[in-house]
Symmetry: C2
Subunit: 341 residues, 2 copies
DNA sequence: TAGAATTATAAAAACGTTTTTATAAAAAGG
DNA sequence: CCTTTTTATAAAAACGTTTTTATAATTCTA
């Protein structure tokens, strides 16, 4: 015995298929008695509508897709949690695709598995695909990516300003030799933060030194290695402070510094980005620029749903970061300038 | 102009719908020339199959559902990441539903939105729903929940063995007086861990003392209080080591010990369970039994897919924990047995 | 070379819904 | 009372596929 369909309910209740459909979707065209009778029969038979049939007919799936390269780490889980909850609240489900396979991505998007999509920037959907999505009137919101395209939405963390402000903060503490630990150079956020950092340096006529831009890949391990090898290769160029591309990177940086006998923040200040939840538990607690990740997720979903339901145009939304001062940074201790080194 | 369908391709290519379908799904019944011609036309027209139509007809969605109360924190993101990747590898997508709404859950499961489901235990799907799922032949794997039901799969963390191994490890360090800080007595995991602990003690003919089983409720605060009051009431029974019911509990325990002037691990070793992400950042870094979360996810997905594709029966799988030795435990320092205390 | 078997394609049915259109019965209008 | 509206329900079409069945053309068999 297979699944009970609307047809079975109709037969059992002695009415037509359309009557059952109307009863279930409470269209007010029905005789109340008929309606409640049908509903009773449906309930008794444990009828549950087949969503594929429904979706095919209506062209709506009530599902949103999140396409990303990863969901690991505090950044992503905060994002996914906030998006999933917001979806649930709005009557949608969330489809998470962790993949780099363009084929998978496009066939799911264009195949109408979901009513709209959230795309994480690292996927770097190319222009051809974007224009394809545009032609098909796909509703999409990009995270952390700026798209010139006016039909697509985007929600980004203003990394340039964040980088700029974080650097200005370090300068205000009296630090002059400030190093930046870059993430992945193809990533918008990473580049923006670095540009903000460089801008602040220039504005204060401070040294802009190529050697002071390390490569940490947004990872603890990668940064740890990068900082260690930097200390090894340039023992004469010890910076006053490190601005790490994100908190994980800041943690890796601090570990590397500790392992070389430096104290953070007494000897060197370190500042990160994001304010992931570990940040406040780390020793020392991290000074960081908070990325309102959860808010970003909620904003993206809300916007996407409005684009779907209210045909709203794609907007560009920038979220400002917020400097959270904790224990990994402090005023530069001015040692005897002549005596040391 | 709407979406291009298989019908449009058929017209454009001058063949029938079924020929197009056969060409796309490379059924080898077609003349190779016809096939490549159709494929070319389809490509030129940017044809992408509508998945709803396909799903309705085939009855398969190539989607798996994950139903949970949360995706926050290291446990969940590790789980979701591993499941999503495994899904991708096997040609499935993952649907994540973060909700407690039974209505949402059941309508998505029974409405055949997904080919199979992974259900996180905290949802506590009741027996009625389980039997409903059984009747509908829903393929399901439960995480961290033991179901007597033979048609459903489950993957659980073997807390008994974890408790047993952790205790054996402490014994191997030379500890003899080992206390256990229990979680909540109604919870499976807590009881299992305690039983494993007791088993290990017995096996090594070590003291099994009622007083050495404290109540910490799986919480930092509760454990802190429990340990403090223990130290207060039994100053003569200072243990060599504490086995805490989970990492949070271990943290509370260490804090209590510190506040009494004890050093961990020099004076007393402490071991926890789970390996939450704070564990490695705490001072001292926690020795703990890691729940192999990623493996649990992969196992669950693999099993589920086999249940779907190979009609495999639901199995019960237990995963052994993995001891992660860090800084909160060390070899018992044998002080002069006669001189001290 | 007539009939059988094979090959390649087309036509039609089906999946389970919703929606549009048709029909029958009841109520209203004059 | 006979037409016109209104009301309640049924029938049919449609969504975009896959799959089953039918048909035509070719090749094989004896």
């Amino acid at each position: 015995m297979g699944k009970v369909t609307i047809k079975d309910v109709a037969r059992e209740a002695g009415v037509s298929i359309s009557t059952v459909s109307n009863a279930l979707n409470n269209v007010d065209v029905l005789n109340p008695e008929t309606k409640s009778h049908v509903l009773n029969v449906a309930k008794r038979m444990n009828y549950v509508p087949n969503l594929n049939g429904k979706q095919l007919k209506t062209g709506k799936t009530k599902m949103l897709g999140f396409f990303t390269t990863s969901v690991s780490g505090p950044y992503f889980y905060t994002l996914v949690e906030s998006m999933a909850r917001e979806c649930d609240r709005l009557g949608y489900g969330l489809n998470v695709f962790v993949t780099r396979d363009k084929q998978v991505i496009m066939s799911n998007i264009l195949g109408r598995r979901v009513d709209g999509v959230i795309i994480y920037e690292e996927l770097r959907i190319d222009d051809e695909d974007v224009s394809m999505m545009m032609k098909e009137k796909i509703k999409a919101v990009f995270l952390d990516r700026f798209l010139e395209n006016e039909t697509m939405g985007s929600v980004i963390f203003d990394s340039f300003v964040a980088g700029y402000e974080a650097t200005k903060y370090l300068i205000s503490l009296g630090h002059k030799k400030i190093a930046y630990i870059s993430g992945v150079d193809t990533m918008f956020d990473s580049v923006q933060r670095r540009d903000g950092y460089l801008e602040a340096l220039r504005e204060h006529q401070l040294l802009v030194d190529e050697d002071y831009v390390l490569q940490g890949y947004f990872e603890e391990e990668g940064t740890y290695n990068a900082v260690k090898s930097f200390l090894h290769m340039h023992p004469d160029k010890l910076p006053d402070a490190f601005l790490a591309g994100n908190d994980l990177s800041a943690i890796g940086c601090i570990r590397a510094l500790k392992s070389h006998g430096f104290d953070v923040p007494a000897d060197i200040s370190v500042v990160g980005f994001d304010d992931i939840d570990i940040a406040q538990y780390f020793t020392p607690p991290l000074t960081t620029v908070r990325n309102q990740i959860a808010r970003q997720g909620v904003l993206a979903i809300d916007h996407l749903v409005r684009m779907i339901q209210k045909k709203e145009q794609g907007k560009k939304q920038k979220l400002a970061g917020e400097l959270v001062v904790r224990g990994s940074s402090q005023v530069k201790i001015q040692r005897n300038d002549l005596g040391q080194e």
